[in-house]
């Protein structure tokens, strides 16, 4: 089933972040995958001790960078601190463009421990690899899944997979395999049960015990 997510006509040069309205939610930095690591290292040293979230967005037809990997950072003290000391901590959002033909970004899981699962999730759902991640494998989808579901060219209901043949129910029941549908009616089943009972009676010895 095709996805209904095709971008609307006229939105091919799609980059909503370029026309962003004036919303004061964070300081925004735009970087490429070459300098994302040095930028984030700098921010870590500058006191952005918490990596709140790491996610990704697929802009499908945007050139040259199809994806954005989005880092949300927060400047928090790394020791016990009261409300006054924390105040309104500064937020930074780092948007890292990733090209469709080179979906590799350096890992930051050594800078922030919280990046571990977040990077695995982006890898799982977007197919973006994090170079240097110690344990990069799928986290939400099954290990043998094909494709990356949050990509925009992945259909909403998934691609058809070959179904594992299931063992026939008939083999497990009293109904012999290959019994035509008519034999599976209640009357047919009762007939078969009676037959099984008759055979079992035939196995009994004179004192009633089973042979």
């Amino acid at each position: 089933m095709p996805s209904s997510q095709a971008p609307p006509a006229g939105a091919t040069a799609l980059d909503p972040t370029a026309v962003r309205p004036d919303i004061a939610d964070a300081r925004i930095l735009r970087v490429t995958s070459d300098d994302v690591r040095s930028t984030l290292e700098g921010l870590r040293g500058d006191g952005f001790t918490m990596l709140l979230d790491l996610g990704a967005v697929d802009y499908l037809e945007r050139q040259p960078a199809r994806f954005d990997v989005v880092y949300h950072l927060l400047r928090l003290p790394d020791h016990a601190a009261g409300v006054e000391e924390i105040g309104t901590p500064e937020r930074v959002r780092v948007l890292c463009g990733v090209r469709a033909d080179a979906t590799v970004v350096p890992t930051v899981s050594d800078l922030w421990a919280s990046a571990d699962w977040a990077e695995r999730e982006v890898f799982d759902l977007f197919g973006i690899t994090f170079a240097g991640h110690p344990d990069l494998r799928r986290i939400q989808m099954p290990d043998d899944w094909e494709g990356h579901p949050l990509r925009k060219d992945y259909p909403l209901r998934g691609v058809a997979r070959e179904r594992t043949p299931r063992p026939s129910f008939a083999l497990k029941s009293n109904v012999a395999a290959g019994t035509p549908a008519a034999g599976r009616t209640a009357a047919g089943l009762q007939k078969q049960i009676a037959e099984v009972r008759r055979q079992a009676d035939g196995l009994k010895t004179d004192d009633g015990t089973t042979r």
């Binding site: 939610d25 709140l52 020791h79 937020r91 919280s114 939400q140 099954p142 949050l150």
Partner: protein, 408 residues
Amino acid sequence: MSVGGGPAAVALDVIEQSEGRMVLSMGPQHPSTHGVLQVITEIQGETVRKASPEIGYLHTGIEKSAENLFWSQASTVIERMDYLSPLTNALCYYLAVEKLLGIDATIPPRAQAVRVLLAELSRIASHCVWLGTGGIDLGALTGFFYCFDLRERILDLFEASGGARMHPNYIRVGGLAQDLPHGFLAKLDGVIAMYEPRMRDVRRLLQKNPILQDRMIDVGIISADEAVNWGLTGPCLRAAGIAYDVRRAFPYSGYENYTFDVITRTESDAYARFLVRLDEMDEAMRIVRQVRKVLDEPGPVQSPDTKFSPPPKETIALSMEALIHHFKLVSESFRVPPGDVYAAVEGPRGELGYYVVSNGDNRPWRVRTRPPSMYNLQVLKKIAVGELIADMVVMIGSLDPVFGEVDR
């Protein structure tokens, strides 16, 4: 005892060869995992040497589904992420959408007060589940019934507000679906009146219980700098002494108008997290009482801009504009200007955030959740090492994960 050459001997051989270590899979159907969590633990004797939580058993692709729904429909699936406090999810999502629309300053005060009321009641209801089931994990069965009874009364209020106990879908862009129904405030007064004696009972049952204290004190300790490094938020972070609360640091929906304390402790063990949550319930009730005072004043609960919110029913037959807006809203929803925004609220588990991207269409281009449970749960890898296998249950309970949110 001689075990001969059977499987037991093979198992003993394997354990001996691996220096007494063995691998034990806990879950995904273990009753203490509060859902579907598998923890692959490497144990030596009874001591955990390594713990690897495996998640994803409840992955339902909610973020993908939301991209394929209208802006107003997406909250239906979004409420199903953290199913213990659905209103908090919807509130955060709509705060992000309202910021993108540029109407975040036009939400009527009464709508904001009701949002705060329901968010705080959600916090109490969610903590009731954590407290009740967390007690059961440690063998304290009685507390469960006291907590769930209180939660039921709160869910009755949700049912009165939006029509459903768990997923009321009551919040809308620009305000609320409708005003609070007749009789709601009387019910609310009933909950407020029962809260204090009930919590006194619960505290006497659980907080001072020497068995519970023995199980929780000094279990699952994490230092303040590690807690920040692992991205902990909410009660888990505040139990480490860092008073970061989104309601205080980045006030939304008028939280700056209410008096409440940010509860912190410094021990940072399972018992500290337990106490922080208990005290937070009292603070939430303190906010509820303050909101209750302003609810006697009637007022609008929807932004008057009918481009986003349905026009009043009585105007539809009289005004062409109203009819057009109603038709457009029902048939194709509203459009949101292009842009991206991050909005955060203080959920019961910590900072719940939504990073929402719009390309100008009537459906969100991307809805990314910052799930506090997932980041809190991840720290199990760190805190479980060196603890007893029996304390694993305590540690999972003290992190309070909700798997609808962890796996989404």
